[in-house]
């Protein structure tokens, strides 16, 4: 018990274990030549990272071909394409409010909420008029396809009035005889190209459809807009073909956006029949 407080066995004081570490390092030993080498090494490493990975993945620029092997170039190309399309959308949307302001100059300034809502409606109108305004020339292949406002983002917010009614009945009740098709259109899409074909329909009308990528595959978005609403019925990636009935959830344009994400041209053929006013094809 007594040696419990034996001072001779206690450490004298708390020595730092590494007294040398107390001196702060405020510089590094270096030589002018060594620093030049290090700087060049750093620039070279940065260049390699850029050329091999970063530029292919961000901009689709691939001087070495490595980005093509790793697939990063494709990422960059898709990013660039989406950015360009988003920019085109913004420009289309920006053009609409200007027209609206010119048309109604005398009215007192409405609340900003109303203006925003008007802007959105105008943007949708512009998108629709872009479809209507395009003359339907079926012979023309889909080079420089008119990509009308991507519907996917707005579709998420759109209220579906009746999901059951809106649903696409896949391959429902095949016709006993050969179905009567009213329209048939065909487009050849180069890699990366997209195209939109829509049917002008009243609410509740049902159209029959069959489309095929003729042995290849395409991405698609079956959607509709009009009457201030928009909806996405069905989306798919790398789909060879589809058939079924399309029931319009509201009065407007309902149809398909296809995009070729393969590395070879794809021909998409669409046949439609049933109840709709007209086909709006570029």
């Amino acid at each position: 018990m007594s040696n419990r407080f034996d001072i001779s066995k206690a450490p004298l004081r708390a020595e730092p274990r590494h007294p040398a570490a107390a001196a702060p390092v405020q510089s590094v030993p270096a030589t002018p030549g060594g620093l030049i080498r290090s700087t060049l090494l750093a620039a070279g490493a940065a260049g390699a990272i850029l050329v091999l990975f970063w530029l292919p993945a961000e901009y689709g620029i691939d001087p070495t071909g490595v980005g093509g092997l790793t697939g990063l170039t494709e990422m960059g190309e898709i990013k660039q394409q989406l950015a360009a399309e988003a920019e085109a959308d913004v420009e289309a949307a920006a053009a609409a409010p200007v027209a609206a302001v010119e048309a109604t100059p005398a009215t007192a300034a409405p609340a900003p909420e109303i203006l925003e809502r008007l802007d959105r409606i105008d943007a949708q109108l512009a998108a629709i008029s872009a479809v209507i305004g395009t003359p339907p020339s079926l012979t023309e292949p889909a080079a420089a396809a008119t990509v009308v406002a991507e519907p996917a983002p707005e579709a998420a917010a759109a209220p579906a009035p009746d999901p059951v009614e809106a649903a696409v009945a896949e391959a429902a009740a095949p016709e006993p005889a050969t179905p009567e098709w009213r329209d048939e259109v065909s487009y050849t899409l180069n890699p990366g190209e997209g195209i939109e074909v829509k049917l002008s329909m009243e609410e509740g009308q049902t159209a029959r459809f069959l489309w095929t990528a003729n042995g290849s595959v395409v991405n698609f978005d079956l959607h509709g807009d009009g009457s201030g609403e928009s909806i996405s019925y069905e989306q798919g990636r790398a789909v060879p073909e589809a058939a079924g009935d399309l029931t319009a959830a509201f009065t407007g344009n309902h149809g398909w956006f296809w995009r070729n994400r393969t590395e070879a041209p794809v021909t998409v053929t669409l046949r439609t029949g049933g109840d709709y006013a007209e086909i709006k094809a570029p």
Binding site: V25, V28, S38, A42, A46, W54, L55, Y59, Q80
Partner: protein, 241 residues
């Protein structure tokens, strides 16, 4: 034979330390790439929808921009790399903060807009500059040590132009602009302090180790790699966009 080789072969590099460093930098780069330096679509969309003075929202956006802005953070890490005393750290960080506050508010107020790629490339260059400065390159190459406080102020001003360009991309409403700008700036400073706390914690632990003296050189070279790569990316972006 193998024993002879083992006895006479010494690893020329502190591999463990280098791997740890590389992981840190990669994590930093990946985090940055994932979060992106630009104002995100969601934030930008929000700002375009609202009007009036919204202090908390803009403080949040400012802090978010700073914490996710890897080029600002790299520069900040470079500035405090060899600073030990809290007084020095406070001085330099204040100089940097004053610099970027001035150009950020002035830039937005008078609509001074510099191409985002050019300004981001300049900010990336500031990272390379600070790394070289830490390595004593200017003293060794040119025989002069540029004033580090002046350099921090100048680069602070440039970083502020970067912030101003980003805010102008927000397309912020003129209603409540000044208040929102000050709130955003306050957020930037708060975000900077939060990031600084993390960087300092890591730096303090690192600098307490013997290995720091060896790794400091490599760390600044890696910082140059990051700076050069960012420069290349931004300059390429300027020509592509």
């Amino acid at each position: 034979m193998i024993q002879f080789f083992r006895a006479h072969w010494r690893p020329p590099m502190p591999w463990q330390a280098l791997i740890a460093l590389a992981t840190l930098f990669t994590a930093l780069l990946l985090a940055g790439a994932a979060l992106a330096h630009n104002v995100t679509e969601g934030d930008s969309g929000y700002v375009q929808e609202v009007t009036g003075f919204r202090p908390i929202a803009f403080i949040y956006l400012g802090a978010k921009h700073m914490v996710t802005g890897y080029d600002h953070l790299l520069f900040l890490a470079g500035v405090i790399f060899f600073l030990y005393r809290s007084k020095d750290i406070a001085t330099y960080v204040s100089i940097f903060a004053i610099g970027h506050s001035v150009t950020m508010i002035a830039g937005v107020w008078w609509s001074i807009k510099i191409n985002a790629y050019i300004i981001d490339a300049t900010i990336a260059f500031s990272v390379v500059y600070k790394a070289l400065d830490n390595l004593g390159a200017f003293r060794l190459w040119f025989g002069v040590q540029p004033n580090t406080k002046a350099a921090t102020l100048i680069f602070g001003l440039l970083h502020g132009f970067g912030l101003a360009t980003k805010i102008q991309d927000y397309d912020i409403s003129p209603d409540g602009l000044l208040g929102n700008l000050i709130a955003f700036n306050l957020g930037v400073e708060l975000g900077q302090l939060m990031a600084l706390a993390l960087i300092l914690t890591a730096m303090t632990h690192w600098r307490a180790r013997h290995a720091f003296a060896r790794q400091a050189y490599a760390a600044n070279v890696l910082m140059m790699v990051a700076g050069f790569a960012l420069m290349g990316l931004q300059i390429t972006g300027y020509f592509v966009a």
